[in-house]
Symmetry: C2
Subunit: 236 residues, 2 copies
């Protein structure tokens, strides 16, 4: 069974983006309302087909994000998450979608464009609980993205990506509490998170924006992983 080029099936390739943030005490995901068929008018992840046979996947992801939501991929870290390729996942025919994952601070409301009629932040619980119907297999993709975020908080510095720089320890804790869905002891969290070498760098500034005693401001340090991890046990 040699590789005969004229026999190799060719399929359409898309990229989709699962962009998460914490807004209004909720883990939210960036969704668009589809302006075109199929699933016209339904909510979907931003994304679309690669622009040409030569376009790199990472480039396509950044382009679609900018086109449909106005977000600049230069300001965030896109990482490949997983590829979804069930033969019947798109009614137009075989479409493989390579899904990307990103986390951003609480940003201004996105602006729709391209194939998207509207772009908005949506609580992931609305999606996972089935309150919102989603196009294609995007509900599954959202679930995978949420689980990835929850897991990566444990052993990476992903949490800081949810915060605008500079941030306070309690702002970072609020991210953990929101993503994991349960409260953490502020004192133990402070001790643990500031004890990880290279994770946080104090700017020397302080802020009272969270109320109460002024809190020290930090920016991200060089560390990207935590050993040992902060496990999401059932603290409290």
């Amino acid at each position: 069974m040699p590789d005969k080029p004229w026999r190799i099936p060719k399929v359409a390739v898309a990229v989709d983006l699962a962009v998460l943030t914490v807004r209004a005490d909720q883990l939210q995901i960036l969704l668009v309302e589809r302006a075109i068929a199929p699933f016209r008018g339904m909510l979907a992840l931003p994304g679309g087909f690669i622009a040409s046979k030569e376009e790199d996947l990472d480039v396509a992801a950044a382009r679609e994000l900018a086109e449909e939501t106005g977000l600049d991929a230069g300001q965030l870290h896109l990482e490949q998450m997983r590829t979804y390729g069930a033969p019947d996942r798109d009614p137009r025919g075989r479409v493989l979608t390579v899904c990307y994952f990103a986390v951003v601070p609480n940003l201004p409301l996105p602006t729709a464009g391209g194939d998207a009629r509207a772009a908005r932040w949506t609580p992931v619980d609305s999606v996972l609980d089935g309150d919102i119907d989603m196009a294609f297999d995007h509900r599954t993709i959202v679930a995978d993205a949420v689980e990835r975020a929850r897991g990566k908080l444990e052993y990476t510095t992903l949490g800081a990506a949810f915060c605008a720089t500079p941030f306070t320890v309690s702002e970072l804790r609020h991210v953990y509490e929101t993503v994991w869905g349960h409260p953490l002891d502020p004192r133990n969290f402070h001790r643990k998170i500031t004890g990880v070498a290279g994770l946080l760098v104090a700017t020397g500034e302080r802020t009272t924006r969270d109320g109460g005693r002024p809190a020290a401001l930090y920016r991200c340090g060089p560390a990207t992983t935590m050993h040992p991890p902060i496990l999401r046990g059932t603290e409290r």
Copy 2:
């Protein structure tokens, strides 16, 4: 920019497999010698193009594994690892490859077939150290697979997949030592691994195949993850 089907670029889609095992005190990976161009005669991961526009990715992976190496995917757990899609990664043109990851016990030597001239187990160190040239970007893929295995040993029951059932605690420890590349204290390992609820189930049998005092035999229990994880610290 509406979705005009006649403008959507179509690309070739392949699946590749990174199948790991522990043999002769080394972490080894299943490679094939390519029988066809490009990279004819060079070593590569088993894999190939999807057979039709309708073939599911998981099915394609199992089929290619059976065709090229004679292994039955029904006997192992294939999980999707990552998709590689750099525009220039295949000299024939744009080819997207969805890579799968699996771990197997020390199996009989594989039998080549399909587009593979030969199939054999190869120490991953030979690949990672550059002693072996590999086709396409497969050296990168091997590195990613090894890192995935090392990481998943910490918090999942993947290690047991390296062992033929039933197995002893010291056989399982040997897997950890080989994959991580450093020795572990047999007594502490025994205490930790048997202390994880649902991980190991004693068969009641014993064996002396490892020499010395007879060791209890175990099979896998229902647990798939470990909390807390066994961290690959610099023990010893």
